[in-house]
């Protein structure tokens, strides 16, 4: 493979900041950045001032949807264990780990408990050997605190992070919305937002006691962020993530019963959304993910409470995130820490920055290019976006996996 030289780029590196410069790829890895010597046989790509950043690592996707990931600038995903079959045995994990290569690297999150039932421990060591990079509770909560404690303790032995869904199932029950004015007016089954901090508080105490690494896939409430912030200060090995939906929308958006707004966890009230923006700004939030979960009409064209939760988020993650930068909620290089470096570190993969030696998983994007979100034109398996019709800015220009251009 010929060396590849990116010229006239605006480099965005979570480790090195933002600067003008060039980048050289040799043997599928980043060989030099800044001012580079271009080998005579190198292929040259003139970025014309476009941004060059590490490609996105999307932690916690629900489906394998290659066209959507590539359209969204994503080359690696952490795959949720709630697949069919559940990722709770080595064969299923190994198959998932290899199915996307070479264009998409899938890092499976193995089921922390068998069949995600929250009763018996999953085969963490064997699934890890088969390619799992973390274990998780999936979209469910482990009700039994004894089981959760053993999950965390056992995963800590193996050095595997535990990715948890933080909602107390006893409180949520069959809820599809957060208790409050909107749910009351709509007559929807709802649960108090307290369901989240209640679950987080327990898991944090258990993580602290067992020494496990805990990642809360989505934290969405003011009380939840407060707990995570305090735990980080105490030195607990906890990280947390969020999707653009919970940063940009509050539950009032569900008022017309549009099922594309049916998410898990559900949209919260405006004060929680403001708390999420504050947590993004102060560094409490570590990971920004798409929560990609394409669901077709048979699962979405239903009454609100009967619809399957989830959104097709892969193709809007970059543009919506760039909107947060434009709103000065965070800097561009920190955005790519949340989109690439942090999720990569969590999964224990050596990518997510533009440092020399890292794999050349690269994203060239136009930060300002305007477009309008239109679910019907998604490349994803389904167009269930809560942002349909929203004008945004920021487009993927080119995407590279290991220095190889992806269509």
């Amino acid at each position: 493979m010929r060396p590849l030289a990116f010229l006239n780029a605006r480099l965005v590196c979570p480790a090195g900041g933002e600067r003008e410069g060039a980048l050289l790829v040799v043997d599928e890895a980043i060989a030099a950045t800044g001012t580079i010597d271009i080998p005579s046989h190198a292929e040259v790509i003139d970025c014309n001032g476009a941004h060059l950043a590490p490609a996105i690592v999307d932690l916690g996707v629900r489906a394998i949807d290659l066209p959507a990931f590539h359209a969204g600038g994503i080359v690696r995903v952490g795959l949720m264990p709630d697949q069919s079959p559940v990722l709770d045995e080595p064969g299923a994990v190994q198959r998932a780990a290899l199915i996307g290569r070479p264009d998409l690297w899938i890092h499976p999150i193995a089921a922390a408990t068998r069949a995600l039932a929250g009763v018996e421990l999953g085969e963490m060591a064997l699934t890890h050997a088969a390619g799992a990079r973390a274990v998780g509770t999936g979209a469910r909560w482990i009700a039994d605190s004894g089981v959760m404690r053993r999950v965390l303790a056992y995963a800590a032995d193996l050095g595997l992070p535990v990715i948890a869904h933080a909602e107390d199932g006893g409180l949520t029950g069959n809820a599809v919305a957060t208790a409050g004015e909107t749910a009351t007016r709509m007559g929807l089954p709802s649960a108090p937002s307290l369901a989240e901090p209640l679950a987080i508080a327990r898991d944090l105490l258990l993580a602290e006691e067992t020494g496990a690494r805990l990642h809360l896939r989505e934290v969405t409430t003011a009380a939840g962020f407060k707990l995570v912030r305090a735990a980080k200060r105490r030195g607990v090995a906890v990280t947390c993530g969020i999707t653009p939906a919970h940063l940009l929308l509050s539950d009032i958006a569900m008022s017309d019963f549009r099922t594309f707004l049916r998410l898990s966890p559900p949209l919260r009230d405006e004060s929680d959304r403001q708390a999420a923006l504050a947590a993004l700004a102060d560094g409490t939030i570590d990971v920004l993910c798409s929560g990609h979960d394409p669901r077709g009409p048979e699962e979405k064209r239903l009454p609100f409470a009967d619809a399957t939760p989830g959104m097709a988020g892969a193709e809007t993650l970059l543009a919506l995130s760039l909107g947060l930068v434009r709103d000065e909620r965070l800097s561009l290089d920190r955005l790519f820490a949340l989109l690439a470096a942090n999720p990569a570190r969590l999964l224990g993969v050596e990518t997510g920055t533009l440092e020399v030696g890292r794999p050349a998983d690269l994203l060239v994007f136009d930060r300002d290019a305007p477009w309008q979100i239109d679910g019907d034109r998604f490349r994803a398996r389904a167009g269930n976006t809560p942002f349909d019709g929203l004008p945004v800015q920021g487009k993927v220009v080119q995407l590279f996996k290991g220095g190889r251009a992806l269509a």
């Binding site: 004015e181 009351t184 007016r185 239903l302």
Partner: protein
């Protein structure tokens, strides 16, 4: 022969809505317009005058995805009095894969060229979903815990007829507020018409942030009843009184049952209402329910037919080419 108020030439300005999916979205004057229309039908129904078959030749489909006896009957009688061809479709929940059938049913009903569709469904928002898929007017006969607009209209009309006006009346709604579409629609309609609405339920059956709907919540029924002009009791489903939300029905009766003794706290001429069917001896004693001077429960049934006639008439005016409604 007396006629309901003649359609004004600017009819669309009085009621610019294609469907009736809820009270939410209706302006106070639009609610009043429907009540005025219904008022005319009450008189006409009582006189048993020469029938007014203004919906003759139109097909009304009552698609009930959830069991109902009285609401279905009320809509059927309303349609037939107006001369419509009424077809009832019972879609038992057990026999269908719910979601799929819902959309498919909507498309099927539409293809059958119904002129008006009345829908009841167990899921909040389901009626609106169907309304988006069909070309004819859709009337919500109850969707989940969301809305039951004709019930609220008939309740408002009953209050207006007995009390002269809805405005300023102190109305207490008591029972399972959390799961009640009747409560939601009534809160919207009665507050829009400037009533002073109190809701009363144990905390386990009280929705979050209910005060944001401009009502005063109470957990103590005796306190809520103080000075009430209207007491509206809701039915509590038996399955919710067996430990899940309430310890037992006798405990509910003890705390929230409307007895003659308790009613003394309300205004001396307080009106007692219930959307039916009643759990006699639980939320209301027979002595209260059957007291003709206080109870408007049978009158509610009568107003119900008139209100549904008014809604069917108004919603089909555009299709019937009534002057001013094109």
């Amino acid at each position: 022969m007396p006629q309901p108020a003649a359609a004004p030439s600017s009819g669309r300005l009085h009621f610019p809505h294609r469907h009736l999916t809820g009270i939410e979205g209706l302006q106070p004057h639009e609610i009043t317009f429907l009540l005025d229309e219904a008022e005319g039908w009450i008189e006409l129904n009582r006189r048993r005058a020469e029938p007014d078959k203004r919906l003759a030749g139109l097909t009304q489909i009552n698609a009930f995805f959830e069991n109902s006896t009285r609401t279905l009957l009320s809509f059927e009688i309303a349609g037939k009095r107006l001369g419509a061809d009424v077809v009832n479709m019972h879609v038992g929940q057990s026999s269908v894969k719910k979601g799929e059938t819902l959309i498919d049913t909507a498309i099927t009903l539409n293809a059958m060229r119904a002129d008006v569709i009345v829908i009841r469904h167990q899921s909040s928002g389901a009626v609106r979903l169907i309304a988006d898929k069909v070309d004819c007017p859709v009337l919500n006969a109850g969707d989940g815990s969301h809305e039951h607009p004709t019930q609220a209209l008939l309740d408002a009309l009953t209050i207006r007829r007995r009390k002269g006006s809805v405005a300023g009346q102190r109305v207490v709604i008591c029972g399972d507020i959390l799961h009640s579409r009747v409560a939601r629609s009534n809160i919207l309609a009665l507050t829009a018409l400037a009533a002073d609405v109190r809701v009363c339920a144990p905390s386990t059956l009280m929705p979050a942030a209910i005060e944001r709907m401009f009502v005063t919540p109470f957990t103590d029924f005796d306190a809520a009843l103080e000075g009430a002009d209207v007491v509206m009791m809701l039915r509590v489903q038996n399955e919710r009184m067996s430990g899940g939300f309430l310890p037992s029905n006798r405990e509910f009766a003890a705390r929230y049952g409307l007895t003659e003794e308790r009613l003394k706290r309300a205004a001396p001429d307080a009106l007692v209402m219930h959307p039916g069917p009643m759990n006699r001896g639980v939320e209301i004693t027979s002595a209260v329910a059957d007291d003709k001077t206080r109870s408007a429960i049978t009158e509610q049934v009568e107003t119900g037919v008139a209100v549904r006639m008014a809604c069917l008439d108004v919603l089909t005016r555009s299709a019937r080419g009534v002057e001013g409604w094109a």
